[in-house]
């Protein structure tokens, strides 16, 4: 079974939280994030493109490009379209590896490793 498959069952999928939805709204679901990591979107790329985190950590994508973008996994999360200044987040609860992309610019890719 693929890592993605395991995640699909085990990981509490977060996100879809665009700007305007507070972290408190999401965290009230019972999660307890340990660390918050920011991935900056600029110059048609995710910075950093590869990120290693631990279960319970929060990843926030912030769009600082002049173009709209998304950070979208095929099944686990989708920030939706983020315009300039918007952000979206994901909280991972289980170990695994997931590659993701911008739906508007599919050659923009990134990878999260939860271990």
């Amino acid at each position: 079974m693929s890592n993605d498959g395991r995640w699909a069952r085990q990981v509490l999928v977060a996100s879809l939280l665009a700007t305007g939805l507070s972290a408190a709204t999401f965290l009230s679901a019972g999660t307890d994030p340990k660390h918050r990591y920011e991935i900056e979107i600029r110059g048609m790329a995710f910075h950093p493109a590869d990120l290693t985190i631990a279960p319970g950590d929060t990843v926030v994508w912030v769009n600082r490009d002049i173009f709209p973008h998304s950070a979208t996994h095929k099944s686990l999360w989708d920030t939706g379209t983020l315009t300039t200044g918007d952000s979206g987040r994901f909280i991972a609860q289980s170990r695994g590896e997931a590659t993701y992309a911008c739906t508007l610019h599919p050659t923009m890719t990134g990878k999260l490793l939860v271990k």
Binding site: G43, M44, I66, P68, L104, H105, P106, T107
Partner: protein, 179 residues
């Protein structure tokens, strides 16, 4: 110099405006003229994308066209804001006119097609156009620009053009034959 190396490739891609620009106008463009070329190049791609939205049949081609409209409009908004800030009026020039002429010819060749043939023709054009724009940025527009803010805008836009080119090539490959 890069634009001379790539010139034969560009010739085969039939983007005459940018080729002429690189051949004849590299040393002579003023900043207002560079700004006009940039806005013209964006508008050309927006206009063709609008046509693609009405005629394309492949979903990925339609999505690509929509992204081109969004992204190139964003660039033009940045360029307009910068021109206002600098008090500069983009100045029409031979390069812009040549771009428009090339775009008109390309559109005339693409527009009569339909179905999968249109999809392929549009994506082929987008591959060639974005490659030519990249080469023009590197070999003409960025080196020619003296204003730091305008140069920064062009440098900042370059990754988007490269991403568009990669995306277009990806779709081109998925469409199968390119001619």
């Amino acid at each position: 110099m890069r634009h001379f190396v790539t010139l034969p490739l560009l010739l085969t891609l039939a983007v005459p405006g940018l080729i002429q620009a690189q051949q004849t106008a590299q040393p002579d463009l003023s900043d207002p003229q560079v700004a006009h070329v940039a806005v013209t190049a964006n508008n050309i791609d927006i206009d063709l994308a609008k046509l693609a939205l009405t005629k394309a049949t492949n979903l990925e081609v339609k999505k690509f066209a929509s992204t081109m409209i969004t992204d190139h409009t964003a660039v033009n908004q940045q360029a307009s804001a910068l021109a206002a800030k600098l008090g500069v009026t983009p100045a029409d020039n031979a390069v812009s006119q040549s771009l428009l002429k090339g775009a008109s010819e390309a559109r005339a060749a693409i527009e009569p097609k339909s179905g999968a043939a249109f999809d392929r023709a549009y994506i082929d054009r987008e591959v060639g156009y974005h490659q030519a724009v990249l080469d023009a940025l590197d070999g003409l527009l960025i080196p020619t620009t003296s204003n730091a803010d305008l140069k920064k805008l062009l440098v900042d836009v370059r990754p988007a053009i490269a991403a568009h080119l990669a995306h277009a090539r990806q779709i081109q490959g998925s469409l199968g034959g390119t001619r």
